[in-house]
């Protein structure tokens, strides 16, 4: 029981990331009919928003403290961040400590802007081109984005810590009445899952309960008719693209403490997220979310030693294997709609 629970929990954080990226992919695909290979890069940029804000907060000046000496006997150099001098060590220190959650506020406008620029500047011209062209041009864009990040941030992963308060682990087992110390789970991962759940819920609520969401959903079902009703669907789709970009970015921001961001994390997640979309069913948001969590948890189970002893290497390929089986037996995916991307 404990083992199973632990594996489910372990799968949830990756599953959350898959679900968030896959949702964005599905939204873009459903509304604009575009296969966006650059979506992983947006996730990566989100993570680097966190890195950047962390760096900005840590900008410091150097003073020489004559009273202390370093191990060579020279006067000690002391780095003090501007934030701490301006706002005092308590508040300034707290802000620096909380840089990752604060990055959410910083990342939303940036990601929306990137998304809108992407849609207006590039994707728009590919609506009527074959899917292969869309895949290829966004693939090129993904390379460009990740290489730019690589140029300015280097190729090595950049550790980006979560706030001090969440760096420890929580005894999740004791929390739900199991024996103590059986299921220990890092705080931040739990927060990541809750955060993802809130974002997903918010997005669903937005699509369900607002006029904007209603139009977008109608557009997903039948673009031409909605266009005929005199609704400016293109403008809404641009905004939708911005939202999808923001969702991917937020997934990246919060993921930074779990895995130190590096420039190719986007590509790694993109391939898997595409598989998730296909398994969930192209064009189905619920499918994308369900498949995201499902595959995350499956991956986690496959990496248990007990499983690996029986099927060596299964943890490496389980997601792809599931995707292949699903595609061949249920071509529309778990919850796919009819007629999406079928000739």
């Amino acid at each position: 029981m404990d083992v199973i629970l632990l594996q489910i929990l372990n799968g949830l954080d990756k599953g959350s990331a898959y679900a968030l990226i896959a949702m964005g992919l599905t939204l873009i695909f459903g509304t604009l009919g575009v296969v966006n290979f650059a979506h992983g890069a947006l996730f990566m940029i989100g993570a680097f928003c966190a890195v950047t804000l962390n760096r900005i907060f840590n900008i410091s000046f150097t003073t020489i403290d004559e009273t202390r000496t370093d191990f060579l006997g020279n006067p000690m150099e002391v780095h003090t961040t501007y934030l701490e001098t301006w706002l005092g060590p308590d508040l300034g220190g707290a802000i620096i400590d909380w840089s990752v959650p604060l990055s959410i506020l910083f990342a939303i406008p940036i990601m929306v802007a990137i998304g809108v620029v992407m849609e207006r500047g590039l994707i728009r011209h590919f609506y009527n081109r074959p899917h292969a062209d869309q895949i290829l041009v966004t693939f090129g864009l993904a390379i460009v984005l990740q290489e730019i990040v690589k140029h300015y941030y280097g190729a090595n992963p950049i550790p980006t810590p979560a706030p001090d308060a969440f760096r420890s682990a929580i005894d999740f087992g004791a929390l739900i009445g199991l024996e103590p110390n059986a299921v220990i789970y890092p705080y931040w991962r739990l927060i990541y899952f809750c955060f993802a759940a809130v974002v997903i819920a918010a997005l669903f609520a937005f699509l369900r309960f607002t006029t904007f969401g209603m139009v977008v959903r109608a557009g997903m079902a039948d673009r031409e008719t909605v266009g005929l009703l005199g609704i400016n669907i293109d403008k809404r789709f641009t905004i939708m693209f911005g939202i999808a970009a923001a969702v991917a970015g937020l997934a990246g921001v919060m993921y930074a403490p779990i895995n130190s961001p590096n420039y190719h994390m986007g590509m790694d997640f993109l391939v898997l997220s595409f598989v998730v979309v296909v398994v969930g069913g192209m064009g189905s948001l619920t499918g994308a979310v369900a498949a995201g969590f499902l595959l995350g948890v499956l991956e986690s189970f496959a990496s248990m030693n007990a499983v690996k002893d029986i099927l060596p290497g299964i943890d490496q390929i389980i997601i792809y294997l599931v995707a292949i089986v699903i595609l061949l037996t249920r071509p529309r995916g778990l919850l796919g709609r009819k007629g999406v991307m079928e000739e």
Partner: protein, 399 residues
């Protein structure tokens, strides 16, 4: 000749001539001139151009003719390399058995993956092939380590059995063709230019020419016509009594065998094979070469492979110091931003150039370089026609 019409025969002869003269053509600048860094006549680079040319030619038979976009073709390249190295380890350093095994294994794997993947089309096909390639890549890193030697890569060692030529030597043997060692080369100096003629390059070149000839025959054959029919209209195809599936499968297997051949050649030039050859960025690269040159054209993919490999080599050599040297004559306030602007694109940043180039081609020239050439030729003809029209009516000013 060779079952081709006159035009195609000439076309083939020109390709043969260009291929054989490559050591001259890529070495146009004198060794001590400032432009020597743009020379590309070294065996290593020329071999890579020929090999990736073969890879792209094969990919084009699938993508260019049938329109099925495979995002996992590097898996066949990798498998070809592994097979070839195993042949070097077990049987002999002769490249022929290695290449034969590379093609056979890659073909078998393509058959297996093709039977499954081709049950879907469009983006689903792309993702299925991607999934298979990623599986191969992940397995090569982990469970298949006894076969692939994991991250280190598969290499030949002195203790390998090599049944046929297990001569006891104290240095690692070199792949050879009946005694002709692949890394043998002769250097000739003419007018300050150093031309290198290597066995390895000419071996690759001959194979590339054969591969080109086969691909030309496929393009011109009824089989090739059917593959193009698959791309345009599968509904009409089935209502014409044709079964599209075996056609696409045949194209997939052929292109897989081309990839295996390319992988085998890579190993023949440098007998080691690593999993990174199967990574999906490598699959992306061959797509890029094909598109850049012009998918569906005969020469385009080879051209694309040549351009990409050439510029990869040149760009990777340029660094910030070189840039400062170039723009050193400019005033400082101009030089710094220019160098700052170009710097991300060169050296380590070659991939950025590649990505940007790829986007530009997709946006402005979806038909690739071949399409661009055609457009320029057409514009040129129009201009000449206009000038002649003008000339016939009035007395045109002499130029």
């Amino acid at each position: 000749m060779l079952g081709l019409n006159r035009r195609d025969t000439w076309f083939l002869l020109i390709v043969v001539a260009l291929t054989l003269l490559t050591p001259f053509l890529l070495q146009p600048f004198a060794e001590d001139s400032a432009l020597a860094q743009f020379n590309a006549g070294y065996p290593d680079l020329m071999q890579r151009i020929a090999i990736y040319g073969i890879f792209a030619m094969g990919f084009n038979i699938l993508f260019g003719l049938t329109g099925y976009l495979s995002f996992g073709h590097a898996a066949f390249l990798g498998v070809g390399s592994y097979s070839a190295v195993w042949m070097f380890k077990l049987l002999s350093m002769n490249v022929l058995p290695a290449l034969i095994l590379a093609v056979a294994i890659a073909g078998l794997m393509a058959l297996l993956i093709g039977v499954i993947s081709l049950r879907r089309s469009g983006i689903y096909f792309a993702i299925l092939t991607l999934a298979f390639a990623q599986m191969a890549y992940n397995l090569a890193y982990s469970v298949l380590t006894p076969l692939t030697n994991g991250e280190t890569g598969l290499q030949i060692t002195l203790s390998d059995p090599r049944i046929l030529d297990a001569a006891a030597t104290d240095s690692l043997p070199v792949p050879s063709l009946f005694g002709l060692e692949m890394n043998d080369a002769a250097q000739v100096e003419v007018l300050g230019r150093v031309f290198t003629f290597s066995v390895g390059y000419y071996f690759c070149a001959v194979i590339a020419i054969l591969a080109f000839y086969v691909s030309m025959r496929i393009f011109r054959s009824p089989f090739g016509l059917m593959l193009r029919a698959v791309k345009t209209n599968q509904t009409r195809m089935s209502y014409t009594g044709l079964n599209a599936r075996p056609y696409t499968l045949a194209a997939f297997v052929i292109s897989g065998m081309y990839a295996g051949l390319a992988g085998g050649l890579l190993a023949a030039m440098d007998p080691l094979a690593g999993p990174e050859r199967m990574q999906w960025t490598a699959s992306g690269e061959v797509v890029l070469m094909t598109i850049l040159g012009g998918a569906g054209t005969l020469l385009g993919p080879v051209l694309g492979a040549g351009v990409i490999k050439y510029f990869e080599n040149i760009f990777s050599k340029i660094n910030e110091n070189v840039l400062h040297e170039w723009f050193g004559a400019l005033p400082g306030w101009l030089e710094t931003p220019i160098v700052g602007l170009i710097d991300p694109f060169v050296g380590e940043g070659w991939h950025l150039t590649l990505g940007a180039l790829f986007m530009l081609v997709m946006i402005f020239l979806p038909g690739g370089l071949m399409e661009g050439g055609r457009r320029i030729a057409a514009a040129w003809r129009r201009r000449r026609a206009r000038r002649q029209d003008g000339g016939s009516g009035s007395t045109a000013p002499a130029e």
